[in-house]
């Protein structure tokens, strides 16, 4: 099994009539994802790549039984789009949009408390369960199906890592980009527990970066709950202090959140920390062979 989605997940795309929404709807459909509805306020009745457009998430869910949303709406409207999807109790929301104010996410996180929705993102590439379902913008061809669970705060670095895994013959159960912002809908921790409980997942690869405490929180959960082999790469060892490295959340602030600190904490929790971003695929493969998780 994959985590979060299956081949039967029915997807509504919020912001489907925008350029990015329309483009990636087509890519998701090509991958075999069941995109059943789109939402753009004021554009009910239109179709995009054959997908019917509704004026609200509620109407879309009533008409199509959608149970997951992907959000492409511009940053200024993303707060409202997330609240709307949470309010109708969609189990899963993936927000791709970049540039959403942190204050909006702080309030969205509060609104999520006690509600049955899981939010992934924002400022993330989405998630893929290979050969089953793709929500977001991760290129489909890099994947193959298998037993590695991938969690990442990055976009293209994730693609690179996944590509290395696939080239090494290691398929993935699910790949999730949690996003590059300071305040995120989901952290590594909850998703690590899902991978631990997923019978198809044999090992976990975590791709972190400087800033915040995601990796430290992850280390604590791994130590306490994860028995599967876990690997990590942390980007940003060369990053100067107090400089934002592209992602809103990638900043070493007040001397905290350095790559060295995170690598040390993860290693102490029993995680195999990978030094070179070019060695992710091979390190995972060799280690799993050595431990007998993989057969030659």
């Amino acid at each position: 099994m994959s985590i979060l989605v299956t081949k039967d997940t029915r997807v509504v795309v919020q912001g489907i009539t925008g350029q990015a929404g329309a483009f990636h709807t087509e890519k998701m459909l090509e991958y075999g994802t069941k995109v059943v509805a789109g939402v753009t306020p004021g554009k009910a009745g239109a179709t995009v790549h054959g997908v019917p457009v509704f004026g609200s998430v509620q109407r879309a869910v009533e008409a199509t039984g959608a149970d997951a949303s992907v959000i492409f709406v511009p940053a200024a409207f993303a707060y409202d789009a997330m609240l709307e999807a949470i309010e109708v109790k969609l189990p899963l929301i993936v927000t791709i949009t970049e540039g959403i104010p942190a204050w909006d996410l702080i309030r969205v996180r509060r609104y999520l408390e006690g509600r049955p929705t899981r939010l992934i993102g924002p400022n993330c590439p989405g998630l893929t369960a290979p050969e089953a379902c793709k929500l977001g913008i991760i290129p489909g061809y890099i994947h193959r199906r298998g037993g590695i669970g991938v969690l990442s705060r990055s976009g293209t670095l994730t693609y690179d890592a996944v590509w290395q895994l696939s080239q090494a013959g290691l398929g993935q159960s699910t790949c999730v980009g949690i996003g590059g912002d300071a305040v995120l809908g989901s952290s590594f921790t909850g998703l690590l527990r899902l991978f631990q409980d997923d019978p198809e997942t044999e090992a976990i690869v975590l791709i972190g970066e400087i800033g915040g405490t995601e990796e430290e929180e992850a280390a604590a959960v791994i130590k306490a709950h994860v028995t599967k082999p876990t690997f990590a790469f942390i980007a940003g060892r060369m990053a100067p202090k107090e400089k934002r490295m592209g992602h809103a959340g990638a900043i070493v602030s007040g001397g905290r959140g350095t790559a060295a600190e995170k690598m040390e904490t993860l290693a102490a929790a029993g995680v195999t920390v990978i030094d070179s971003p070019a060695a992710i695929g091979q390190t995972v493969k060799q280690t799993l062979l050595r431990r007998g998780v993989l057969q030659k």
Partner: protein, 394 residues
Amino acid sequence: MKLHEFQAKRLLARYGIPVPRGVTASTPAQARAAYAALKRLCRASKTFACNVKAQIHAGGRGKAGGVLVASSAAQAGAQASTLLGKPLVTHQTGPEGLPVRRVLLDERIGVTRELYLALTVERYTARPLILASRQGGVDIEAVAAKTPQAIAREPVDPCVGLAAFQIRRVQEALAIPEPLGPAFHATLKGVYTCWTSCDASLIEINPLVETGDGRLLALDAKVVLDDNGLFRHPELAAWRDRGQEHPIEFRAGRIGISYVGLDGNIGCLVNGAGLAMATNDIIKLAGGSPANFLDVGGGANVEQVTKAFAIILADRRVRAILVNIFGGIMRCDWVAQGLLNATQSLRVQAPIVVRLAGTNVEEGRRLLTGTGLPITTADDLADAARRVVGLATR
């Protein structure tokens, strides 16, 4: 986006937080006039002394000689001319310092206690977080490292807002005497309202002082605004001082490219922030040193790649360039075309190592083969890093 001290104080004053009276000046003549104006504002008798504080986007100014005292208009002018037009180097600026283009003339305050008060976000729990310490006026990072228990932490429910009992709790932590209770309530409430209404990511009052005449005052203040929230605050966005920003970083930012200058001599052009950081890291692992972090953006096109090259080449230290692209949405052939355009129009002399992977990689590599230009393609990232380090140290 960072604000200057005088901007931070102006903003906090709007939310009812008491700040010292102050006037800014950009020339020695203005400083002399500012001294006279401030003296009138303070209704001072004959003798009047004020601070002359350099305005830069960094802390540690006092120790670095960026805060002087003047007790006459002539002296204010002289102190201003000492500071203005020169870079000020503090422990936060790096060796080249930051240019001083403005000074703040601030009334001097008789202080009995110095406290620390800040509001930031606790990322993992997604809560606004008040930080307070009785050890104000010093480097809070040092306090946090040595005596973390000396910093009180009060998370706020963003839905309910800051409750009065929480303010009392922080008041107790800071041991603020009861007569100053109402003033402290107004101050902390003001900080919270300012933080939420302005999309701030940090408000730091260090020190918050109790004065000899029994008042509370924000003696120094630092405000950082969330770049992602600036679209809601055009007035505050206009307060940006590009003179405090790295000129290449500023130029890049305007065209949607994230650029951070580093110390080395290998220019980097990468798509995606995480991959760009990882590229810097692998250059270091291979024994080289990157000149920059550069994320050209996820959906960049030929034109954007050309502009990114121009930005890298603006740095004269660059001896070799590493291009690392993983084509997802971005196509490798677009990158290759941008590369060819740039090398031709900019007459690039530095050797370029290109690592392409992903969408349209074959087409991209084909475009770069047999061009007669100093471009080599690499098979993977490790190979690319080795090659570019070899070229840069040649």
